[in-house]
Every structure is written in structure tokens, then in C-alpha cells.
């Protein structure tokens, strides 16, 4: 660990590199405005990004390097091998870095599986469940479903022994199918899943989850899914339960001066393929606002952190986002366990950072915390009790 001055920005927890905005799919809920562009990050830009990060003093503690947005596997393995060499060259203090890929798995092949088996690499696969859920939203530009290709990729990961987690985007229609999703995970050897709710972000200006009654439906969905997941052998790990349980059981609490990764300046650094960078929520990178202009704060080739910290644009952003976090702290009963809503959700839903609750808060924070608490209480009550005698005829 490298010590920084007490008021030093950061430390960096997550470095998001966008090697290309291009994605070979065209999912209906995607928030990326530029996903048809085939621009790529050059080796020079890549090196400048690492030089900037390690030169900024932000990289003082272990952090995750996430390759994300668009589809990172569009670039060849050799790009990431070069990146690994450059990372090692610039990481002179040997700060532990976990590389993470979030992929749609349609481009996986044996070469990729060989690369992804490295111990310092983590893999996330995006898949939304059985075909009637997945193929409704995760399609090619020609409108074809992609589940078959995703499952071929998952099969390859199993064959090569590459561990992975799954992210499933929940839309309104998925909330009726927790059992079918659980069956799908079981059938495909998926042991760990995170649920992203369909958010209002960027060009995706509406969500099927905005309908009245969604929080209650989501509560029922999650309760049912967790009941199945936790009684499975081995249990299916559900990210929302694990993270909510961690805060409920006191592993982490929020208060004055303690912010989340997304609303703490420089805990996240996002860099696009041209070297433009931002902080806070990754979804803000590349987005412009009528009042703020671009949320891009500089370029890794030209703008050192000190200059950005002193800029009016950053100071205004930090003031507004900080104000919004304070409003959350003062008004929301969940704040201690949440730490304040993500700035991107506030901006895209409420049109201002100086605001509080969003759809994301109601579903992904409040419902997840409520359901996790109920599950923990239930499991505590029933721990150690023996099952009742089992007659052959059932009454319900």
C-alpha cells in the first residue's frame, strides 16, 4: 500500500478502460450512445492512460481494471497482452491490479479462454436467462437473438475451466420468472449472478420498470429467487444479497465523509478509446449536459490530475454531487447502508445531481436491503430447527 496525504484524492478503486465503443450486439436497453462506432484505443493512448493513472498518485491501493463498454472481446487477445505488459511497466510500485472483463460471450474462442484463465483476470458474462427473456432484448443489429452464441461461449468457459460470474439485466417481463431463471443458471453451470435493473441512462430514456407496482413485484421476485438460490446445493451466489448482507451486518456503513465508489471523486476513473477521462459513474463518460457541457474532465495525454482538480468544471461537479449525497443523508432512511444514489442515475432520471431518490434506489438499493434483511431474519429464526415429520399425503 502506498500512503497518500490525508486529503489526497482517491484512492482509485476502479479503472474503467473503454478499448472501443463498438459492440457487436444491439441490446434494447443499452445506454451507450456510440456503440456502432468502430474506433479503437491505440497502444499510445493505452500507455498514456497507464502513465496518467500511476503518475496521478491515485493508484495507492489495490484496484480493479475493468475493460468495458462496448464489447471488449471485439479487440484481439494481442491488444490485452500488450496492455498487460504496459500495465506492468508503469505499475512500478506493484500495486495489485485485478483485470476484469465484462463480455457478452459471443466472441469467445479457445484463444480467449486461454487468456482469461490467468489468475489475475476476472470475467463477467452478460446473459439474461432463457431465450424468451434473453433474446427479447439482447439481439444483433439484424434483430436476431443471441442466446445460442452466448451458451456456446459459456460452454467453452466450462471446458477451459475459466471461472466467471453472470450479470442478468432485469426487465419488467423477467420479474415473473425467478424459477425459470434459477433453472437456467443451474442448467448452465452458473454459480454466481448479479442482477442489474433496467436503468434510465443516456439514450435509454425509459425503463420497463417504471410501471406502477414494480417495487412490490421486484420484492416478490427477489424473495423467491433468493429462496431458491440459498437452498440450492451448492448455493447460487446472488450479488445483491451478498453486498446487502455485508452492509447490514456492519461490514461497511456510510456517514459523513464516507461515500460510495460512484459518488466519491476519483474512486473511479473512466477512460475512453481517445484518452478522454472522467470520474464518478462510468455512464457519464461521453455524455454532455446543457448545463455542464461534457462530463469529460480531460485527456490522459494532456491534462494532469492537478489541473483537473483545480478546474471549475470538476469543482462544480463535485459540489453538486456532494450536495446530492448530503440530501440523501438527510432524507433517506437507507443512507447508512447505501451511501447515496449513483450520480448518473440522479442525472439521467432527475435531470440534476442535486437530488435524491431514483428508480435505481427504490429497486436496487431499498428492495434489495429489505429483502436481504427479511431473509437474514428468517434464516436466523429457523436455524437449528428440525424439519417436521413428513406424511405421504400433503395438505397446503
Amino acid at each position: 500500500m502506498l500512503a497518500g496525504p490525508p486529503d489526497a484524492p482517491g484512492p482509485l478503486e476502479l479503472l474503467v478502460l473503454q478499448p472501443t465503443p463498438f459492440c457487436n450486439l444491439d441490446c434494447s436497453y443499452c445506454y451507450l450512445p456510440d456503440r456502432q462506432s468502430t474506433r479503437r484505443m491505440s497502444p499510445d493512448t493505452l500507455e498514456q492512460a497507464f502513465r496518467w493513472v500511476f503518475g496521478s498518485g491515485l493508484a495507492r491501493e489495490p484496484f480493479t481494471l475493468l475493460w468495458h463498454a462496448g464489447e471488449p472481446l471485439v479487440l484481439p487477445v494481442s491488444f490485452y497482452e500488450t496492455a498487460a505488459d504496459l500495465l506492468q511497466r508503469h505499475n512500478v510500485a506493484n500495486v495489485p491490479v485485478l483485470q476484469s472483463f465484462q463480455t457478452n460471450a459471443t466472441l469467445l474462442d479457445s484463444e480467449w479462454c486461454g487468456f482469461l484463465r490467468r489468475p489475475d483476470v476476472h470475467l463477467g458474462v452478460s446473459v439474461d436467462g432463457p431465450d424468451f427473456l434473453h433474446d427479447r432484448h439482447r439481439r444483433t443489429r439484424q434483430g436476431r437473438g443471441t442466446l445460442d452464441r452466448v451458451l456456446r461461449g459459456i460452454q467453452l468457459l466450462h471446458e477451459y475451466g475459466v471461472p466467471f460470474q453472470v450479470i442478468t439485466v432485469l426487465t419488467d417481463d423477467a420479474l415473473d420468472y425467478p424459477d425459470e431463471l434459477f433453472d437456467f443458471y443451474q442448467a448452465n453451470g452458473i454459480r454466481s449472478v448479479g442482477f442489474n435493473v433496467e436503468e434510465i441512462e443516456g439514450p435509454h430514456t425509459t425503463s420497463s420498470l417504471q410501471r406502477a407496482g414494480t417495487p412490490e413485484r421486484f420484492r416478490r421476485f427477489l424473495t423467491r429467487l433468493l429462496s431458491l438460490a440459498r437452498s440450492a446445493d451448492p448455493p447460487l451466489l446472488v450479488r445483491e444479497f451478498e453486498t446487502s448482507a455485508a452492509v447490514l451486518l456492519g461490514a461497511r456503513r456510510y456517514g459523513p465523509g464516507v461515500r460510495t465508489q460512484e459518488n466519491k471523486p476519483w474512486a473511479i476513473v473512466n477512460v475512453d478509446c481517445e484518452g478522454q477521462f472522467s470520474t464518478y459513474s462510468p455512464e457519464l463518460l461521453g455524455v454532455a449536459s446543457p448545463t455542464h457541457g461534457s462530463f469529460t474532465l480531460g485527456n490522459v495525454a494532456t491534462d494532469p490530475l492537478e489541473a483537473v482538480l483545480a478546474s471549475a468544471r470538476f469543482r462544480r461537479l463535485e459540489e453538486e454531487i456532494g450536495h446530492g449525497v448530503e440530501m440523501c443523508r438527510e432524507s433517506c432512511a437507507y443512507y447508512r447502508f447505501c451511501g447515496g444514489g449513483p450520480p448518473a442515475n440522479k442525472y439521467f432520471e432527475n435531470k440534476t445531481f442535486i437530488s435524491t431518490e431514483t428508480l435505481f434506489c427504490r429497486l436496487h438499493k431499498q428492495v434489495c436491503l429489505d429483502v436481504t434483511l427479511a431473509v437474514l431474519e428468517q434464516e436466523t429464526r429457523t436455524a437449528g430447527t428440525a424439519p417436521p415429520p413428513q406424511p405421504e399425503r400433503g395438505r397446503v
Binding site: 424459477d179 433453472d183 406424511p391 399425503r393 400433503g394 397446503v396
Partner: protein, 251 residues
């Protein structure tokens, strides 16, 4: 007698499964009596387009709740519940001889929890029986005389194919009031029987050529009947292996 408009078949809301009605529904050539029971004549055919239109809810939109209640709802239990069932049988193999199945009650609760989540709640206090039959047996109902000729204390709510082979149930697509109306039409001067068993018996005597409907159920699939039930029985005439049905009845 030709098929009359009656209750319709529909895939229950919140279930995703292939309905494939033209292959799933078959029509018989009537029914015949046998030792107090009424058995379908085993000459099954696919329904015509007109008959299918009478049998199936045709709109792309699901029926409104009051219409849905009067439908035969097709549903499917998830793979993990089917796996639970087979694990239960495997673990209990040594104890099955005494007619008891340890864990059955918990399994039934799990099925009920699933159906409740899906908006098809099993009535409170419902009785669930796992009925295992060899191929070729006529009826899933207990006690002589088997089948519909006797009134039943329990009202059938529905059933689930727990076996690993396709099976069927056969039914008359008419509600009780429709059976009564048909008998009234044919025998205007006779009183309508009050006992269900007698009513059904009289209907079959009067309308022995009424086409019975055969509903095919793939493994894990089930049906829920309209309130008041329908005249229905199992049909394992062309099965190869044993049939396993979970029959759910309201007390």
C-alpha cells in the same frame, strides 16, 4: 353430437411454454359405459379449425380475470421442482413399499408456493395425491365404481404430470350448468339430477357420441380447472411406462 362451446383452454399468465394447441388437443368419438364408469372411445383425431376455435382462447391478449377463471389453464412446473420430486422418490425407494413417501408434504408445499407466486394459488387446505398408474388403466379416481359415475367429496382443482413421459387427461369441455341445459333440452319433462355422478351418467347415456377432449401433458406440465371442476379423468391408454400424476383437489 358436435362439440359445443364451453370452457376454453389457455396458457396461464406468467408462464412461458409452447401451447401448440393443434397437437396438444385431440377429440374423441364419444364415450362408452363400463362397469359403472364412462370411458372415452379411443379414436382420437385432431380438432378441425372450427373446433379449435371453440376450444382455445384465441386472443393474443390474456383473458381478463373473470374469463380466465372459467378457463382450463395450462402451466408448467420448473425443472428444479421436477428434480426435487425424483430425488424424493430415489431417497425413499426403500420405504415406498409401505405406501408412505417421506418428504412428500414439503414437496407439495414447494409446488403450492410456486403456483402461488405465479398467480395460480392452490385453495387453502387442498389435498394433493400422487397417483401412480400402470399404462392402460382407465381412471385416476379412487374407489368403486371408478370414474365420474359417482359424486366426489373433493372438487378437483387440477393436476401435474410428474412422470418423465407425455400423458393425457380427458374431459368434457362443458360446465355443470351446460350439462344440465343439454339434458333439459333433450328431456324437457324430466327433472335434472342433483348428484353430479347421476348428472354425468345421464349425460353420457343421452349424448354418448359427444366428443371428449384429450389434453396432452408433457413432463412437468399441469392444468387448472375452472371452479366447480369439469368431468375429467386420466388417460394412459397409449403410454409405455407408469403414469405419475399429482392430483390437487379442494376440500
Amino acid at each position: 353430437m358436435i362439440l359445443q362451446p364451453g370452457c376454453r383452454f389457455v396458457v396461464a399468465p406468467h408462464f412461458h411454454m409452447p401451447a401448440d394447441w393443434p397437437r396438444r388437443l385431440l377429440l374423441g368419438a364419444g364415450a362408452e359405459g363400463a362397469r359403472g364408469s364412462v370411458l372415452p372411445v379411443p379414436a382420437w383425431r385432431a380438432p378441425t379449425a372450427e373446433e379449435l376455435a371453440l376450444l382455445v382462447w384465441n386472443s393474443a391478449e390474456p383473458p381478463p380475470p373473470e374469463r380466465l377463471e372459467a378457463c382450463v389453464c395450462l402451466f408448467q412446473i420448473p425443472g428444479h421442482l421436477r428434480a426435487t420430486w425424483w430425488n424424493l422418490l430415489e431417497q425413499a425407494a426403500e420405504e415406498l413399499g409401505n405406501g408412505r413417501l417421506p418428504g412428500f408434504e414439503r414437496f407439495v408445499e414447494q409446488v403450492a408456493e410456486f403456483l402461488a407466486f405465479k398467480g395460480l394459488p392452490v385453495p387453502e387446505g387442498a389435498q394433493c395425491d400422487a397417483v401412480v398408474r400402470n399404462p392402460g388403466q382407465g381412471s385416476v379416481h379412487e374407489g368403486p365404481p371408478a370414474n365420474w359415475a359417482e359424486p366426489r367429496a373433493l372438487e378437483p382443482w387440477g393436476g401435474i404430470n410428474l412422470g418423465d413421459e407425455q400423458t393425457s387427461v380427458v374431459l368434457i369441455n362443458l360446465l355443470r350448468r351446460q350439462l344440465e341445459a343439454e339434458l333439459q333440452r333433450q328431456f324437457p319433462n324430466q327433472p335434472t339430477p342433483e348428484a353430479m355422478g347421476e348428472l354425468v351418467g345421464q349425460f353420457f347415456r343421452a349424448c354418448s357420441d359427444y366428443p371428449m377432449v384429450r389434453l396432452l401433458l408433457r413432463p412437468g406440465e399441469g392444468y387448472r380447472l375452472p371452479p366447480g371442476g369439469l368431468v375429467l379423468d386420466g388417460y394412459s391408454g397409449d403410454k409405455h411406462g407408469p403414469e405419475v400424476l399429482l392430483l390437487i383437489s379442494s376440500a
